[in-house]
Amino acid sequence: MGRPAAPARNPEPMAFFAVFRTAFLLAVLSWRTCQSEVLPERLPLTPESLHISINSTLQHLHLQWTVHKLPYQELQMIFQIEISRFETSKVIWMGNYSTTVKRNQVLQWSWESELPLECATHFVRMKSTVDDARFPELSFSSNWSPWEEVHAHTPEQNTDLIFPRDKLVEEGSNVTFCYNSGINQNISCYLDRELIHGEQLYLNIFTFKLNNVPFIREGGTNIYCAVNYTIKDGTVLFVSKVLEEPKDFSCETQDFKTLSCSWDPGVDTGLFFDGQPSQHYTLFESFSGKKKFCEHNNQCNWEISRDLQETYNFTLTAENYLRKRSVNTIFNLTHRVHPKAPDSIHFNNVGATNATMTWKMPALGNYSTLLCQIELHDKENMRQEHNVSIKVNGEFLFSELMPDTAYMVCIRCANAKHVWKWSKWVTRTLITAEAAPSKALDVWRKVKPEKGLHHVTLFWKPLSKFHANGKILFYNIVAKDLDKKSELKLQSIPAPANGTELTLDQGSYQIQVTANNSVGASPASEIVISGDSGNEEVEEQKINGTKDGFLISWKPLSEDRAGYVVDWCEHQRNLHCELQWKNVGPNTTSTVISSDAFRPGIRYNFRIYELSTEKIAYLVENKIGYTQELAPSDSPQVKAINVTSHSFTLSWKDYDTEAQRGFIQGYRVCLKSKATQCHLDSVAELLPDNSTCCEHAINNPKQKIFLVENLQPESFYEFFVSSFTSAGKSPIGTFTKVTTQDEHSHMLMHIILPMVLCVLLIAVMCYWKSQWVKEKCYPDIPDPYKSSILSLIKSKESPHLRIMNVKDCTPDTIEVVNKSEGTKTQFIGIEKPLTESEFPKPANLYLLPAQDFCVPGPCISFVNHTYSESACDSGSCAHTPVPDTAPPCHLELLASPDNLLNTLEKTHTDSLGEIPAGKISLNYVSQLASPMSGDKDSLLIHSPVPVLCSEYKMQMAVPSCLDSPVLSENGSLSSMTLLGQDKHYH
């Protein structure tokens, strides 16, 4: 692409000379034209002395030439230029260059080659044409100048293969590379790692083009050629980012000595590898004509002359190897004043409500008036804003400040005539002094009378910071006995505290509470406790609340009142009440109590007090309510009582309706039975488990008993009682089961019970009279007169037999042996062996002493002395001493010798063994009965017994323990004799 070089200008010729020369030139040209038809002679105005130079960096061909024999001082001419590559015939570019040519002027023109000039020999020629309207007769073309050949100079022609060398382009440019393969046919060239496929341009010259090249790295992109993987040559393509125009260019002064100009340079285009710095910046001021190279890329300082030049016109030029960009600004110096931040800021005479601030403005001197902006902020908002004009030193008085408050004071300044930029804000903290609290405490009380005393709990709300005017250090409580007119300073309570407790007698007391800080006390807050305080009783009234709170209204007690107080507990169910109160004016009889602490399902109790002018509080009304009622959380515990065959009664007591989540409006009794239909006074209700129950409604919350009637006898029922509020019923729980009674069961009871009683009575009577009955019916000693055997004997054998009356006998000896009451029948029916201690001691006639009996049991002998006397007289029944080794007593009926022998053997064997059960029996052996029994065997056994005693033998009862008949030394069995071990008595 051609680029015209600026032609040199010559002085203007004189008009006369020009006219003459034109005429002469025309004549010459006419002659020359005629001659040229004959001789191929060079035409006039042909470019001559063509000289071509090469700028390898810019890839420019620079052409210089002249036009000799210019007929006029200047002519408008067109030069037609042809450029060939490798050979003159290979024209690669043709173009015209139009310019005004002056006489003896050296013309210049440049052409930029796309291909690196080192890769090819270039040829250039040109011809001219006069294109001047003033001289139409000269409009012909000259001859072509001869071809001029040009070679690019390379430092080491033999080694360099690839061009251009280390080219620097902008991002997005197109770059053409060429390489000379020379004799190496297997040369390969690469771009970084990628193989390049070049296009053959001429013989061994190859070329390739990179379009829209990106920035890759500061170190550049490597293009290199290798033969057999050996690098022969390489070059680096440096891609620079495009230089940007500086943005936000402005200048300002802080001290009227230096102008500080700043701008945003944009991206850095620096590529250091080739020693190329990033873009540099130049500042030029047109009025003064001064220029300054800036050291930094984004700011530059300009010295202000002492004469204080008023207006400045700056041009900022950014420049790098490839591009130059400029921006301009023009301004008045006084309009570019940017003051430094104020300093030396101090607060003087700081009081509770005012303070003085002083400050200084540095470096501006008295050149301009400054406007300072002062802002006073507390923690939340800006409270004051002031504008103050100053020269150098500033002073400002703050007033209407709050005591003991931290303020933030901000100040900044600007040139008062033209605000260019404000200085930076400077912030300082101002803390005002404390003052006495300005407001009385809001005090309330809770009175609890007990045992003739008043337990007073005082509450107060802490003063707001606005009223506290400082840090509250303590609270003073002073109580005055209004009856005794005495004053008693009770307590000084350190802060933070919001209440205290007092114990007073039942007199009237005036209590004053003050809050104190380091400066003083607040106005006193008064409250009077009268003797009746705490004893008031008023009826509770239900109110309906909303989520926004409770609307409470009341009727005044008296005309003369100071106001009302409504108090309530914030957390009603908790032990910790957190008493809240609200003061209401004397002319108001309603208020809305709202609190974030109110929760649905919590019962709140509001007490409205009327404050008399004497500050005595009288309870006016007591209201309870919920912000939102909820269904009860639990159901009453119910018992079924009085269960009959057709009814039962449900009863629930102590159901805490106060703790419920709404006002209990009644109960629902749900009864499940096998009956498919409900009674008329109930309705069928579907339960969650898809079963149904008959629901009876109780709409009286005080009713806590319910009679379930009309039931079937001996039937199974289930019931559940739930309470309900306006929000719903309590949840269904476990059903209680009841079974009604049988219809006839009470009749059975009427019969069976008397019968049982009668039987018992009889049994008791029998037991009580058993002795008597026994004696009557089954005596131990049979009455011969009542014995049936007598009648049997009489009837069978001897009708003459009769019973001997004992009264007819004269006893000779009566011996009482250790009489014991109640033992006569002890052995009857005893089936268990008795221990020694259990044996009673017999007390009968001729009863042998128990202690002499054989061990383990005593032997009891009933002796009929009526018969034994004769026997003893005969001596045949003399008692034989029984050895110690004698077997234990065994009483048994000795019926046969075999029995006897067996008994003897067994007795001997079982001498120390137990007495078999069942063998214990009391046998009566009547001597009369023995010989008369007709049992020969028995008689045979008893045959050795002396006949002397044969008529009557001793009638005896032998205890079972004496199972061993005593044998005499002569081996005869005399009789059943009860013997002691060593002794025996007669």
């Binding site: 490597n222 680096v236 590529l271 250091f272």
Partner: protein, 225 residues
């Protein structure tokens, strides 16, 4: 091995003999001047540290040069790097070097390499790279001082700077940035080779400067007693 009663007496006698001669073993009886050993050890340690430091620096710098310079098997012709001092040397020649020559070669090599490296630092494009190079130059200067210390301790004079090669000398710019990159590549490579060689040099010197260790070998032959 069959030990008899007589053998035990023999072993005891041998042990007593060894203990008797232990005070005469030089390695166990050093109380005087430590000699150049510690400074050689420090130089060796510094060499190893520089090896580690160069590994990190070379990675960053070769990436900055771009492909093919950061490819592992890249081995360009030396071209302009011929003036760099070569670390590679024939093994026999290296073994035959005396201490003075060995140390002198190290000193001269690092003097030259340091000059090249400072030139490299001036060309680096990024501040991070310049910082790393400056740090490494400081360490290399330390190594040069350390070698000079060893030479002084051994009584060797420092080599005189060659005419035209001043401490501030730097190689002239190559006529192509690509060739310059190849020179930089070779500079780093040669530096790495020199550090390897120096480690071996100082290790050899270290062993040489240490007095022979007490090598007592007891050859017990039971039958011999």
């Amino acid at each position: 091995m069959d030990l008899r009663a007589g053998d035990s007496w023999g072993m005891l006698a041998c042990l007593c003999t060894v203990l008797w001669h232990l005070p005469a073993v030089p390695a166990l009886n050093r109380t005087g001047d430590p000699g150049p050993g510690p400074s050689i050890q420090k130089t060796y340690d510094l060499t190893r540290y520089l090896e580690h430091q160069l590994r990190s620096l070379a990675g960053t710098y070769l990436n900055y040069l771009g492909p093919p310079f950061n490819e592992p098997d890249f081995n360009p012709p030396r071209l302009g790097a011929e003036t760099l001092p070569r670390a590679t040397v024939n093994l026999e020649v290296w073994r035959s070097l005396n201490d003075k020559l060995r140390l002198t070669q190290n000193y001269e090599a690092y003097s030259h390499l340091l000059c090249y490296l400072r030139g490299l630092n001036r060309q680096a494009a990024t501040a991070e790279l310049r910082h790393s190079l400056a740090h490494f130059c400081t360490s290399l200067q330390g190594l040069l001082g350390s070698i000079a210390g060893v030479m002084a301790a051994l009584g060797y004079p420092l080599p005189q700077p060659l005419p035209g090669i001043e401490p501030t000398w730097a190689p002239g710019p190559a006529h192509s940035d690509f060739l310059q990159k190849m020179d930089d590549f070779w500079l780093l490579k040669e530096l790495q080779t020199w550090l390897w060689r120096s480690a071996k040099d100082f290790n050899r010197l270290k062993k040489k400067m240490q007095p022979p260790a007490a090598a007592v070998t007891l050859h017990l032959e039971a039958h011999g007693f």
